[in-house]
Amino acid sequence: MENSLAKWISFFRAGNKGEDQKTHRQEKHHHRIGHKHGEGSAIDFYAYASKIRHWNPTFKVIFSLITLLLVILLNNPLVSLVVIISMAYLTVIKGGLPLGAYISVLMIPITFIILGTIAIGIDFSSLPMGQFNLFIGFGYVFTSADKLQEMAFLMLKVFGAISAMIMMTLSTPSSEIIGVLRKAHVPKLIIELMNLIYRYIFILLDVFNNMRNSADSRQGYGDFKTSCYTFGSVASNMLVVSLKKANAYYTAMEARGYEGDLIFLEEEKKMAVSHLIIGAAFIIFLILLRIMTPWEG
């Protein structure tokens, strides 16, 4: 997971090089994503490549949040299913993200989901209970059809919620999400920190990648003990480097007239009326769906 984000940076850059000389841009980035590194850390990369990136970010954020809340509040498997399908449509068909990449992002939390759902679905007792039980020495593990159904519905709900959230993150660069937060009157200090942190994350990933290569080229990950020592050394050195960089950045900011107010130029992207109408219709449809189906998740 770790390096993949850093690697994506170099991938993207490597892609740029060619463009540099040949001046055809953008299209190149829509290459089929190799599964080699198609992990969640590539989300930032996908967001910039998305074909719905130009949609108004406020709309995307609010639409995704409302959908997310409805999935949880309505707690209805049909609603979840509709959300899963429509979010996949938006992200994959409209956004142009390769299906394999989309699924790999969806699967990031799979460990948690499996373990968490098992813990919910089974129960312990000293007596044999439920429809299905298993004796494990000191007591029984049991579950029931109801429980199993609850597990399945919960999984649907979780995937619905996740797909609503990643529809936003796979189509909206973080800088634009931060811009939406700023409009929502999140305290200025937090916004400033978020802007800087977002930028610095990529700086430090580069630093980390270089240090890791340097350590690796000297056999620094040969065995577990060596790896621990290397990891610790790289981490503490990365901290030292980041402190130096923090100073350098402040100097560079002052040199351009920074006086304590960190305001970045943002470009307004027009809100399309059609998006508003379709979005509202979708939300109403979800609510109606809940009213018309008796299920509780």
Binding site: I9, F12, R13, N16, K17, D20, Q21, R25, D44, F45, Y48, P173, S174, S175, I178, N195, L196, Y198, R199, F202, I203, D206, K245, A248, Y249, T251, A252, M253, E254, A255, R256, G257, Y258, E259, D261, I263, F264, L265, E266, E267
Partner: protein, 283 residues
């Protein structure tokens, strides 16, 4: 007499550890000059630049910009009119899109938003990177980032532009881009100071050179004067530009006439040879 655009009088600066980084710097800089600032690492060049821009405040001495002495109140004038392109673009770019980055300086000048946008567009067009507007800097290549940092300063419309070792680590294509931009800025009458370790570049580009050594300016003159002064070169550990060596050698061997032409590029030497090559042999 022409008034200097920037005047430094007797500047002293020392960092916390007690070693003086600037040890009495007095120098006048005039509108439109193209100055190479030479000297080993740690000789005080960067400290000098940061003082010139008002980020560092000298312990003693004063700076005047266009005749006005700079004090705490008008230090903004320095930051506004003297722009620095830092050596490492990754330590300069702070915003997460190219547009926000280039707009950062103008925003700090509290310009109206429409003007900021116009200046950003102009600067990006100037550097030929208008297409990158919405890109985050982390997906740009080294040369592209360099262009963004130059656009940063162009958007400030600074009168004086300082480049801190701009050529280090640039590949040939980007080095060429840089020289083109320098030529364009020079043609617009911008005053430029460039620190560099590349003596061939300094010899070729600059009209004036200053040599820093241990916090002092030990030489200030035309590149030719400086690179002909063996003592200075030795003191500052500088090599001589190849073209200077070659030319002097040809004169010494009487293969070209000594017209004080001092070509700085192979192309100029070629022109010279075509025009003035001696036809007289020697024994």
């Amino acid at each position: 007499m022409r008034e200097p655009i920037l005047k430094f009088s007797n500047l002293y600066y020392r960092y916390g550890n007690g070693n003086p980084a600037l040890d009495g710097i007095s120098v006048d800089i005039y509108q439109g000059e193209k100055i190479a600032v030479i000297g080993s690492n740690g000789s005080g060049k960067s400290t000098f630049f940061l003082n010139a821009n008002g980020v560092l405040k000298a312990d003693h001495g004063e700076i005047s910009y266009q005749g006005t002495i700079i004090n705490k109140k008008n230090v903004r004038e320095l930051r506004k009119n003297i722009g620095i392109v830092f050596q490492d673009a990754d330590n300069q770019i702070i915003a997460s899109t190219v547009m926000a980055e280039v707009g950062f300086g103008p925003m700090n000048l509290k310009l109206p938003k429409a003007e900021v946008i116009q200046r950003v567009d102009e600067a990006l067009t100037y550097m030929n990177i208008l297409d990158f507007k919405d890109r985050p800097p982390h997906y740009l290549s080294g040369g592209e980032k360099k262009r963004v940092t130059i656009a940063d300063v162009i958007a400030m419309k600074s009168e004086v532009i300082i480049f801190d070792e701009p050529t280090a680590a640039l590949d040939p294509l980007n080095a060429q881009m840089l020289e083109e931009v320098l030529g364009k800025l020079g043609a617009e009458g911008k005053t430029m100071l460039i620190s560099t370790h590349d003596v061939d570049f300094a010899y070729r580009w600059a009209e004036r050179a200053m040599v820093f050594n241990q916090g002092k300016i030990i030489a200030d003159g035309t590149p030719l004067e400086i690179f002909q002064n063996r003592e200075i070169l030795e003191q500052a550990n500088l090599k001589r530009p190849v073209m200077l060596d070659v030319y002097e050698m040809l004169i010494e061997k009487e293969m070209v006439e000594n017209t004080n032409a001092y070509p700085t590029t192979p192309q100029a030497l070629r022109d010279l040879l075509v025009n003035t090559a001696l036809s007289a042999g020697k024994a």
